[in-house]
Point group: C2
Chain length 746, copies 2
C-alpha cells in the first residue's frame, strides 16, 4: 500500500512534530530556570562538583567504549535490509539506528547532567526551609528528563514517518534497535555501576573501617552518589525511551498490515496519540506544585498524573471519533491508561513502607536474616503473579474490544486484535513524560539528602529533605514496576509484529506459531532460559565489581598519606573510573547474549521456533523481573520500617537482619531486574530483523541441504555466548582475584 | 482401532506382569532379610521406636485427612468419562483412580516403614565397624522402596492394559491422576512437615536454649528425624511413582493415535520397556555391594546404576529389532537413558561439596550472609539454564530420530515425533528402581547417623556412618535433579497427548496450539504464573508451621516438670501431630490450585488456551524447580564445606553466614522445589480430562450464548483459589498468630 497524506493528515503530522519540539523547548526553559537557582554554600558546591565530575567521567568512558561495537552493529544492520532493491530503506535504517542510539544517549546524558545540578539546588532550596520550593526544583529537574524522553522520541518517529511513509516501519525498527541497545548498555552498566559502588563503599567504609555512610574519606562515596544518577536516572530514561519508540513501531507495522484507507489512519493514529501525550505531560508536570506551607508532595505528583491522564483520554476520544471514526481505538488506549494505574497500585501494595507485606517481612527479622530472605522472596514471587495477571487482563480486554467474548472470530480479525494490544501499550506509555519526571525526581532528592548529610545542614532543612527523600523512594519503586510492565507490553506488541513478519517472509500462511510443534516448543524452552542466564550473569557481575571497589578504597587508605587523618583528600575519580570500566566490561556478555541467542535459535530451529523463543522470553522475563524488583523494593522498605523505630529500631539485631535483606535486594531491584526490560525488547527487535534472513536460509534446509556459511554463523554465535558465560564466571563472589588474574589481598 | 493380541504379545504381557510381581517378591525378600538383622543396644532401639511411632502418627493422620477429598474427586472423575456410552470406561477410570492413589500411598507407606526400621539396623551394622555391611543394609532398605515403586506401577498398568486393551489409556489416566494427587499431597505435606520440624527444632533448640542438635529434651527432634523419612523417602517415592505411570499413559495415548498394526506394537512396546527396566533394576541393585575393607560406596552404587542401564539398553535393542521392527524406538529410549545421566552430572556439578560453584558460594561467606545468598541464587539460576537446555536437546534428538534435520516433515509425522519424546521419558525412567533405591538410601543413613549421635557411639562406628551420610547427601541431591527432569519429560509427553485430545475433541483439526492467538498467549501467561504462586504459598507455609512447632516446644519446656533437668521425657508425639496437622492443612491451597486453575483457564479462554497454559506451566515450573532445588543443595554443601574446616570452619562468622544460606535453602530444596513436580503433572492430567468438556461448553459459546452453569463452575473455582490464597496469607513469617487467630507469645 502507498500512503498519500490528506490535507488534514499533513497538518496533524506537522502539529505532532510541533508538539514534540514544544516539549524540548519546555525542557530547555526548565533547564534555564533551574540553573538560575542558588547553589547554596561552598561546602555544598564542592560536594556537588565531585558528583558532577564523576558523572562526566562515567559518561565519557561509556560512550567511548560502546562506539566501536555500535558502528559494527550499524554496518551489520545495513545488510539485514533488502539493500539491492530498497537502498533507501537500508540507508535509512542504518542512519535511524544511529539516531536512535544518539537520542537515547542524549536523553541519558541530559537527564544525568541536569540531575547532578538540580540536586544541590534542591538542597539549597530546602536549606531555606521551604518544602514547596524544594519540591518544585526537584520535580522540575526530573521533568527535564521526562520531556527530553518524549520530545526526542516523537521528533525521531514523526520525521522518519513523514519521510519514509509506507516504508517507515522498516526504518523505525533501526531507530528502535539503536535506542534499545543503548538502553541495554545503560541499564546493565548503570545497574552494575550503582550497586558495585554502593556495596563496595559499605563493605570497606561501614564494615571494615567503621566510618559513617557518607564520609568523604571513603573514595567510593562519590561513586555511590554518581551511581544513583547513573542507574535510576540515565538507565531508566533510556529504558522507557525505547519502550516509547518500540510500541510505536509495533503499532505501525500492524496498522500497515491492515492496509487500505483505514490502515493509513491506523498508522497515523499512534502518532497523534503520542502528540496528545506530550502536550498532556507538559500541562500535568506544570501542575506539580504546592502552595507555601503544603507538604503533601505525593498528592501534588498524583494530581499532575491525573491531569495528564484525563487530558490524554479526552484527546484520544477526539481523534478516535473524528479522525479514525472507530471508537474501539479509543477504548484500546484506555485499557493502557488503566493498566498503568493498576500496575502502579500493585507495586505500591507490595513495596511501600506502610503496606502489609513489607511489615510482615520486617516482622520476620525477629527470627533472623534467613526468615527475612524467605519472607521477601515469597512476597516477590506473589507480586509477580498479580502483575502478570494484570497484563493478561489487559490483553483480554483488547480482545473483547475487537471481537467480543466469542472464540470464533478471533483469528479472522487477528491483525485488529494485535493492533489493539499495541494500542494498549501506546496508551500505557502516554503518561511517559510525567512518569519519567517522577522517576528522575527520585535520585535528585536522594542526592540532595546526601549533600545535606555531608555538609551537616540544620535540623529544619534536613526534615524537609528527609520527607522529600521518602517521596522519592516511593516514586522510584512505582516507576520501576511501570517500566517492567511497559517493556512487557512493548515486547508483546513486537511479538504481534513478528507474527506479521513471518507471514511476509512466507514462513507461515497466517498468524501461526504452533507450540505443539516440538521445534517451537524447544524454542520456548530456550527463550525461557535466557532471563535466568542473564540474571545469573548480572548478579555475579555486581559481586565482582564490588570486590574491585573494595580493593581500590583499601589502596587509597594505605597509600595516600593523611587521608585517614583528614589532611589529604581521597581520589574519587579513580573509584568512579573503576566502576565505569568494570561495569562496561561486564556489558559484553549480556550484549552478546541478546544478539546471538535469537540468531542461534532462528538458524537452528527455524523462524517459527523463533516465535516460541520470544514467547518463552517474554513470559519468564516478566515473571523474573517483577519478582526481583519487588522483593528488592520490599526488603529495602522493610529495613526502613525497622529504622523508623519498629521491631527494635536502628542498631538492633533485627535491624542487622534487615540489612542483609536489603543488600540481597540491591542487585535484584537495581541491576538484574531492570536490565531484563531492554533485554526482552532488544531480542524481539533482533528477531524481527533476522526473520527474512532465517526464513530463506536454514542450517539444513527442508530438502536436507547443509549450508556451511550458516553453520559458521551459528558456531561463531555459540562460541561468543560460551566465551561470555566463561568470562562472567572467571572470578566469583569470593573476590579472590580482580577479574584479570591478579590475586586480591584479603 | 481394536487391539487383538498375538500369541507372542500375550506371552510377553504375562511376562511383563510376572517381572513386576518378581520385583515385589524381591522387595519382600529384602524386607525379611533386613528385619532379621540385629537392632543394636536398648538405647538405639528406644530412639528408633520414637521415630517409628512418629512416622506412623504422620501416616495415620495424613491418610485419614485426604480420604474425603479423594472420594469426592473419585466421584467427579466418573463424570469426566462418557459414562452414558462407555460405562465400563467410567467405572474403570474411577476404580483405577482409587488403585493409583492406593498404590502411591502403599509405596510411600512401605518405603517409610522399612526406612524407619533399616536406619537402626544400619547403625547397628556400623557399630560392628564394617563399612560394607552397613552399606549393604542401608542400600537394601532403599531398594525395598525402589522395587515397590516399579513393581506396583507395572502391575497396575499391565493389568489395566490387558483388561481394557484399546480403551486402556482412558482408564490409565485415572490411575495416573490417583497417583499424582497422592504424590502432590505427599510432596507438599512431607515438604512442609520436614522443614517445619527442622527449622522449628533449630530455632528453639540451637538458638533459644543453646542445646545441641539432636538433644532428646527437644520435643521437635524426633519430628525432625521423622521428617527426613516423610519428605525424602515417602514424598520422593510417590513423586517418581507417578512420573513412571504418567509417561506410560502418554506413550500409550500417542501409540493408539498412530493406529494400525504398528500402533498396537507401539502401545505394547512401552510395557516391555518397563518390564526390562524392572529386571535390570533387580540385577543392578543386587550388585551394589563392597568387599570387606572397601569404602568406595559411591563407586558401588554407580556400578549398580551402569549395570542396570546396560542391561536395559540391550533389552530395548532386542524388542525394537525383533518385535517392533523399528530401530528408531530403540534410539528414542537411549535418548532418555543419556538424559538421565546428563542431568545427574549437572546436579552433581552444581551442588556437591567438592565442586567449583559450591566452593565459590562458601568463599562468599567472607563478606557475610548477603553475598552468600546472592552467590547461591546466581548458581541456582545458572544451573536451571543447563538443565532446560539438556531437556531441549533430548527433544531435538527425538525429532532428528524420526524426521531428521529438515523442518518440512515434522508436522506430517508429528505423532511419531511426540511418541518418540514420550519414549525418551520412558527411557529416562527405566532406571527408576535403582534411582529410588539411591534416594531412599539417603534418609536411612541420615537417620542412622542421627541415632549414632544420640546414643554416643564409638569413634570407629561414627566414622563409618559419617562417610555413609556424605554419600547419602550426594545421592539425595542427584535424585532430586532426576525427579524434576522426569517430571518435565512426563509433563511434556502429556502435553503431546493433550494435543491429540484436542483433535479428538474436535477443537483443532491437527496438532496445533497457536501461541500467536492472543487467547492462547494469555493462557501461557497464566500458566507461567502458577508455579510462582504455588512456591510463594509453600514457602510461607513452612514459615508458619515452623512457628507452631516453636510454640509447642516452648510449652513443653515450661509445663513438663523435670524436662530441662532430664528427669522427665518430652512428648515428641505432640510435635509430630502438630507438624502433620499443619502440613496437611496447608495442602488445601496447592490442591485447589492444581485442580481449579486449568478449569478456569479452559472455560474462560477455551481448550486451545489450555494448551498455552500447560506450555507456560511446564516452562516456568521446570526453571523454578531446578533453581530452587540446586541453590538449596549448593547452600547446604557450602555450609558443609566450611564445616570441613575451610574459611574458618565450624563456629566462625563465615560458618554463621553459611547457616543463613542453608536455612534459606531448606524450604527451597525440600518443599517448594520438589512439590512443583507433582503439581505440573496433576495439572496436565486434569487438562487432558477436562478437554472434552471444555471443547463443548464454553462460558460464552462462539455464537455468543452465555452458559450460566459454566459461569457458576468458574466462579466457584475462582472463589476456591481466592480463599486458599487468602488462607495462605492469613498469618505470616512473623509468627504473630498460630494461624488460627490465636496470638502467639514472643
Amino acid at each position: 500500500m502507498e500512503i498519500i497524506f490528506t490535507e488534514f493528515e499533513n497538518l496533524a503530522l506537522w502539529t505532532v512534530l510541533g508538539s514534540a519540539i514544544l516539549g524540548i523547548i519546555y525542557a530547555l526553559l526548565l533547564v534555564r530556570q533551574i540553573l538560575a537557582m542558588p547553589q547554596g554554600n561552598e561546602k555544598m558546591i564542592k560536594v556537588a562538583h565531585s558528583i558532577q565530575a564523576g558523572a562526566k567521567a562515567y559518561l565519557t568512558r561509556q560512550f567511548r567504549t560502546i562506539l566501536i561495537p555500535s558502528i559494527l552493529l550499524m554496518a551489520a544492520l545495513f545488510f539485514t535490509a533488502d539493500f539491492t532493491h530498497h537502498l533507501n530503506v537500508a540507508i535509512g535504517r542504518t542512519v535511524a539506528f544511529l539516531a536512535g542510539a544518539g537520542f537515547s544517549a542524549l536523553v541519558g546524558f541530559t537527564g544525568m547532567s541536569i540531575a547532578v545540578r538540580g540536586n544541590v539546588r534542591t538542597a539549597a532550596a530546602a536549606d531555606s526551609g521551604s518544602f514547596p520550593s524544594a519540591l518544585k526544583v526537584a520535580f522540575r529537574t526530573g521533568t527535564v528528563t521526562g520531556m527530553f524522553t518524549v520530545g526526542l522520541g516523537l521528533i525521531g518517529a514523526s520525521i522518519i514517518f513523514m519521510v519514509f511513509k509506507q516504508e517507515a516501519e522498516q526504518v523505525l525498527i533501526g531507530f528502535g534497535l539503536g535506542g534499545c541497545l543503548l538502553a541495554l548498555f545503560m541499564r546493565v552498566g548503570g545497574g552494575i555501576y550503582t550497586k558495585a559502588a554502593d556495596v563496595g563503599a559499605d563493605l570497606v567504609g561501614k564494615v571494615e573501617k567503621g566510618i559513617p555512610e557518607d564520609d568523604p574519606r571513603n573514595a567510593a562515596v562519590i561513586a555511590d552518589n554518581v551511581g544513583d544518577n547513573v542507574g535510576d536516572c540515565a538507565g531508566m530514561a533510556a529504558d522507557i525511551f525505547e519502550s516509547y519508540e518500540v510500541t510505536l513501531v509495533a503499532a505501525m507495522i500492524l496498522g500497515l498490515a491492515i492496509g487500505g484507507e483505514i490502515g493509513q489512519k491506523l498508522v497515523i493514529f499512534p502518532l497523534l496519540v503520542r502528540g496528545v501525550g506530550v502536550l498532556a505531560s507538559i500541562v500535568g508536570t506544570y501542575f506539580v506544585r504546592l502552595c507555601e506551607g503544603g507538604t503533601n508532595a505525593m498528592g501534588a505528583i498524583n494530581r499532575g498524573f491525573w491531569i495528564s491522564t484525563i487530558i490524554s483520554a479526552i484527546g484520544f476520544l477526539f481523534f478516535a471519533t473524528y479522525y479514525v471514526n472507530d471508537i474501539r481505538v479509543f477504548w484500546s488506549t484506555v485499557v493502557g491508561l488503566v493498566l498503568a494505574i493498576l500496575i502502579s497500585s500493585l507495586t505500591e501494595h507490595f513495596t511501600t513502607t506502610k503496606s502489609k507485606p513489607v511489615k510482615e517481612i520486617a516482622g520476620a527479622s525477629r527470627t533472623g536474616p534467613a526468615t527475612i530472605i524467605l519472607a521477601g522472596f515469597a512476597v516477590g514471587l506473589e507480586s509477580s503473579v498479580w502483575a502478570v495477571l494484570s497484563i493478561a487482563t489487559a490483553i483480554f480486554a483488547s480482545i473483547i474490544i475487537y471481537v467480543g467474548f466469542g472464540t470464533a472470530d478471533i483469528m479472522t480479525n487477528i491483525t485488529y486484535v494485535l493492533y489493539g494490544i499495541s494500542l494498549a501499550g501506546m496508551g500505557m506509555l502516554t503518561t511517559t513524560g510525567i512518569i519519567v519526571s517522577e522517576d528522575s525526581f527520585g535520585p535528585v532528592v536522594d542526592n540532595a539528602n546526601g549533600i545535606g548529610e555531608m555538609t551537616q545542614m540544620g535540623e529544619k532543612s534536613r526534615t524537609v529533605m528527609t520527607q522529600l527523600d521518602a517521596v522519592g523512594n516511593t516514586t522510584k519503586a512505582i516507576t520501576k514496576g511501570f517500566a517492567i510492565a511497559t517493556a512487557v507490553m512493548a515486547a508483546t506488541s513486537l511479538f504481534g509484529s513478528f507474527c506479521e513478519k513471518l507471514i511476509q517472509a512466507g514462513v507461515t500462511s497466517g498468524f501461526v506459531i504452533n507450540i505443539a510443534n516440538p521445534r517451537v516448543f524447544i524454542g520456548m524452552l530456550v527463550g525461557g532460559a535466557v532471563p535466568f542466564l542473564f540474571s545469573s550473569i548480572t548478579i555475579r557481575a555486581v559481586g565482582r565489581a564490588a570486590g574491585l571497589v573494595v580493593m581500590e578504597v583499601r589502596r587509597q587508605f594505605a597509600e595516600i598519606k593523611g587521608l585517614w587523618e583528614g589532611t589529604a583528600e581521597a581520589d574519587p575519580a579513580r573509584c568512579v573510573d573503576i566502576c565505569t570500566r568494570s561495569a562496561i566490561k561486564e556489558l559484553i556478555g549480556p550484549g552478546i547474549l541478546a544478539i546471538c541467542a535469537p540468531i542461534i535459535v532462528g538458524y537452528l530451529f527455524g523462524a517459527e521456533a523463533l516465535g516460541g523463543f520470544l514467547a518463552g522470553l517474554i513470559l519468564v522475563g516478566q515473571l523474573l523481573a517483577v519478582m526481583l524488583a519487588n522483593s528488592g523494593g520490599a526488603w529495602d522498605n522493610a529495613k526502613k520500617y525497622i529504622e523508623d523505630g519498629n521491631y527494635g529500631g536502628k542498631g538492633s539485631e533485627n535491624h542487622k537482619a534487615s540489612v542483609v535483606g536489603d543488600t540481597v535486594g540491591d542487585p535484584f531491584k537495581d541491576t538484574a531486574g531492570p536490565a531484563l526490560n531492554p533485554l526482552i525488547k532488544v531480542i524481539n527487535l533482533v528477531a524481527i530483523l533476522i526473520t527474512p534472513l532465517v526464513a530463506t536460509n536454514l542450517l539444513i534446509n527442508p530438502d536436507g541441504v547443509f549450508n556451511p556459511i550458516i553453520m559458521g554463523v551459528v558456531l561463531v554465535a555459540i562460541v561468543l555466548i560460551g566465551v561470555s558465560i566463561w568470562y562472567s564466571k572467571r572470578s566469583s563472589f569470593s573476590y579472590e582475584t580482580d577479574g584479570l588474574g591478579k590475586v586480591l589481598e584479603k
